[in-house]
């Protein structure tokens, strides 16, 4: 590319802003997507479908208690057995998609929004504002997250809101740093100066020169961030801070199945495998996006 690359060698993706600006005749991007993206998207679509069609797919009511039949091994009536209160594990797994998917997604999306906004502000304002934002970012990264999580959940109470607030407070930093780095880099390019002098508004510069670059990196990072959010939810459940029972949620099912690992190992393991499957879909999406952007 024309612009001198002063970036640290950790940024492997090439600058695409000029390419986007001039290469209007190239075939549309979505026609050349790698297989990975298709497979990953297929897996995710499957999960979303399960979430939407849960009432049709689940053989039992996920909240139906049957304590006399607790911890039963898999049978025809209960394909994955029953949990510690006699509820059907398969139905709970299916209904849990309705909790884990939205929270996983929001747990990455909200931090992304906040992070991008703050990163833009920091990059463009520079000086004192930039300094403050970056100091806050440092504090958040250095902060023992365990304490923050506990305190937040205690103050805000158990449940979705406090979990999402906790995620947002902890996870925005990566997005902010990504955006800010890109803004700083682009801001100093010669032809940007030329464009500014020529009167082209900032927004257009953002859209044409900034976003194509950084959106790629964000798209690569985003799927794995969804996975991390889902895993963090499981960790919260382990610590007793997740979604309150009796709602079915994968992390809570793993934590609840923990005492029975010896004899009813599937209780804690199967939800974990479901998360692995989700992670697979997300990883493929992320890697596919990375490959696409290298092209």
């Amino acid at each position: 590319m024309n612009a001198p690359d002063t970036m640290a060698p950790r940024e492997p993706l090439p600058d695409r802003s000029a390419a986007t600006a001039v290469a209007i005749d190239e075939p549309r991007p979505w026609q050349r997507l790698p297989t990975k993206i298709w497979v990953g998207a297929a897996i995710l679509t499957l999960f979303v479908l399960v979430a939407l069609l849960a009432p049709l797919l689940a053989p039992h009511d996920p909240l139906q208690l049957d304590p006399a039949n607790r911890l039963a091994a898999p049978t025809a009536a209960h394909l994955l057995g029953t949990d510690e209160l006699g509820r059907d594990v398969l139905s709970r797994l299916i209904y849990a998609t309705r909790v884990d998917l939205p929270i996983g997604f929001l747990g990455a999306f909200l931090p992304a929004l906040v992070g991008i906004a703050l990163g833009l502000v920091a990059g463009f304002s520079g000086g004192f504002v930039d300094s403050i934002i970056m100091r806050i970012a440092d504090v958040v990264q250095a902060f023992p997250s365990y304490i923050l999580i506990i305190v937040l959940v205690f103050v805000l109470g158990q449940g979705v809101t406090s979990i999402l607030v906790a995620f947002t407070i902890l996870a925005w930093v990566v997005y902010a740093r990504l955006i800010r780095t890109e803004v700083l880099r682009v801001r100093d390019l010669d032809y940007i100066h030329a464009a500014r002098l020529g009167g082209i508004p900032r927004l257009r510069i953002l859209r044409v020169h900034l976003f194509p670059n950084v959106i790629g990196q964000i798209l690569v990072y985003f799927p794995s961030d969804i996975l991390f959010a889902t895993l963090a939810l499981a960790a919260f459940s382990f610590l007793g801070l997740g979604i309150p029972p009796p709602t079915a949620e994968w992390g809570a099912m793993i934590a609840a199945g923990q005492p029975y690992l010896r004899d009813q190992w599937w209780l804690a393991t199967v939800p974990g495998l479901v998360i692995v499957a989700l992670g697979l879909g997300l990883s493929l999406l992320g890697e596919g996006a990375e490959e696409r952007l290298r092209q």
Binding site: L63, L65, R70, G240, Q258, D263
Partner: protein
Amino acid sequence: MRQKTVAIVLLAALALVAAAYGGGKGGATTTGATAKGTSGAVSSQRRGGTLRVVRTESFDGWVLDSAAAYASYQTDAAVIEGLLRPGADGKSVTPGLAESWAPNPKAHTWTFKLRKNARFSDRSPVTSKDVIFSLGIWKAGPNFGGSYVNIKSATAPDKRTVVFKLGSAYDNTFLALMASSVSGVMPANFGSKGKVAYYQHPIGAGAFKVDTWTVGGRIVLVRNPYFYDPKRPYVDKVVIDVVADDSERKILFDSGQADIVEYVSAATAAQYDRSKLDVLLPSQIEHLSLNVSHPPFNDVRVRRAVANAIDYQSIIKGPFSGFGAPAKGILAPNLAGWAPPTQPYYSTNLKRAKALLAGSSAPHGAAVELIYDSGVASDVLVAQVLKDNLGKLGFNVKLTGLETGAFVGRAFSVNSDMTLWSYGAISPDISDPLGWFLGTKWLFTGLPTDTLRKQFGSYRTAATRKGRIVVITKIQNQAITDAHAIALTQFQVIHGVNTHVSGFASAPWGLSFYDTVSLNR
């Protein structure tokens, strides 16, 4: 299990087995309800070895008055022994540092004779001066000090005799109080160590002395060479570890790395080899407390409806894996002085519940909040069963699981609609639970405690056994009628005891003495 421990305040000791103790009128009988130990203490027990204990609760420290967890009562008693010990049957008291004791009702006194060879771990002999000093500390304690209010003074006619002067002719709570681990005898003036230094490394006359300890971490006790029984303790060392994870505790037990697992949770007990479990008599009450200070539970009809909607059998079968029995009343069973209610207890009858509710101030149910300790596995499960049960009545129950510290704060403030917890005694007398009720705003219901306070006083000073039974029966019946604190089940404390351990004898609420245990390895 914080809740169980916190629950009981030793308030009174009944002159339980009065006959055995040489005096006092009446006395509860020890009705063959012996704890199922692995084997009785035999004088031919092997000496030596390190006993490894694993528990789930962390220890509160050596300040006896602060003891709230069972872990604390257990560990305190091993080091800082008192005049009496609670018997393993949970209803009697046995000699501790005192070898004999006798009451004088006319003079309102009890006279204790200390053992000749009772010595602290620093070799100094235990004298009446130490007991009198300790009484001062007990009375000043912010938590249990109130229990000693009926002990007006103590005098020492000689080095080995202590005379307690009480405020009444009979005090049925006194002996159990002397047997509680809060009444541990400390050296006078903390052995010239200074208070803070003492509590960091205490000196007691118990079977063991402290080697090292950390809060929430490992506690190492070693044999007290000057213990009053030269044959005991059998083991040289006791190492106590805190392990939070249920699976991990079981793994340590199965691999032989742990000799004893204290307080196996009911949920996982079914996974243990039954022959290695010491399942004690029911002594714990799981209760649902309804807040009577505001709607909807200020209406007794609503409360009674709730009591009839609960599926008690499901609670026993599910969360407690069958290690529980239907509750008969709000008072913990298998304690001296316990008496059953004469009124029948609630039964699960949804139709009846709906009828009761229809005629109340909340005929269509209400949106209510239930708080519970999210760190207690069984409570987490019971809460879900209750939500399901009450949902059938039209109640929309919001389950709020709180981490222990936050839960305790809210429970004591009585600011939620329903509180789920459990309690158990720590002393062999029914006055213990009564004291707990008094100290917790009638078990977190907000019901005024004046009546109960009067009843407690009557119990304490009752001259005959019949008198005591009358009071207790009344309390039991009234609780059923009021339906403010509903006992869901009476469940059992379970200890895991490996086969090479003998001499383990635990009271129904879980307290045992490590000096009766020996290892055959």
